[in-house]
């Protein structure tokens, strides 16, 4: 997965900041567009799963790369 429309750097931020910033970033996207998020908080994996479940946005992928957690979320 490498295609995205907007990018959010949430590295070094603790919950709830990555979720809060993602919510704001997604609000600025059109339906069908994708946001890439990079985070370092291990709790963000569960948090983004819950976030997508609650908001109806699609968690396209969730992966760990070199200690960073990378998420791709497509706006519903």
């Amino acid at each position: 997965m490498s295609s995205f429309d907007s990018e959010l750097d949430a590295k070094g931020l603790n919950c709830p900041l990555p979720i809060l910033r993602a919510k704001k970033a997604i609000a600025g996207l059109a339906s069908g567009q994708t946001l890439k998020i990079e985070a370092t908080d291990p709790g963000s994996v569960k948090d983004f799963e819950a976030f997508c479940k609650q908001t109806g946005n699609e968690l396209v992928s969730s992966a760990e790369e070199g200690g960073n957690f990378i998420f791709f979320i497509k706006k519903s």
Partner: protein, 208 residues
Amino acid sequence: MVIVATEASTKRLSAPERRTSLITAAKTLFAAKGFHGVSIDEIVNSVGVSPAILYRHFKSKDELYDAVLQDFACQRESYVDTIVNSAADFETILRGITRVFIDSIVSQPDLLKIEMYSLLEGHESHSDFFLNRWKTFTDYIEFSLNELQSKGRLSNIDSKASALMYQGMLREVLLLKCLQPSEHLKDYTLQELLDKMISQFVNSLDLN
């Protein structure tokens, strides 16, 4: 007779159940006496097993202590509901995440006691585990205030000091309402006190 009955009943526990019973007993003892104040003998006596059984599950008291903290970590508060379902302004979110954190502390007062002991004992868990929990607030406040300043909505205050001030107020309220109930504050519920405290904190920022 009592010991025999205890041993008979302990044999019925599976390995995971035994591990959980040791963690539960250790949690109560660490909360009452701190890490250094509790011996392995005390822990095994409270569960009714031999030290050998404890060492089958945990190599050392340190490892058992880590398992206790890990158990708390598994019940980590989720702020996702608060973020998804509330307005995105600074005060609303601050109130929301504070409520989630307080509910979590109230439901597991042992965690607050263990934190106090870890501070006094200088246990390394303090920075690894407890400071990380408080970072929820300090990071949120620091980041948000910097953002508000960059938008010209807040005068030039020190966001790091403000975040520390909030943490200090919150911790003091928890100590006085949960650990050492104060006669002076008996007319306020925990929630009332928090609501007033957050209002005063936000008012003092004088956001425009």
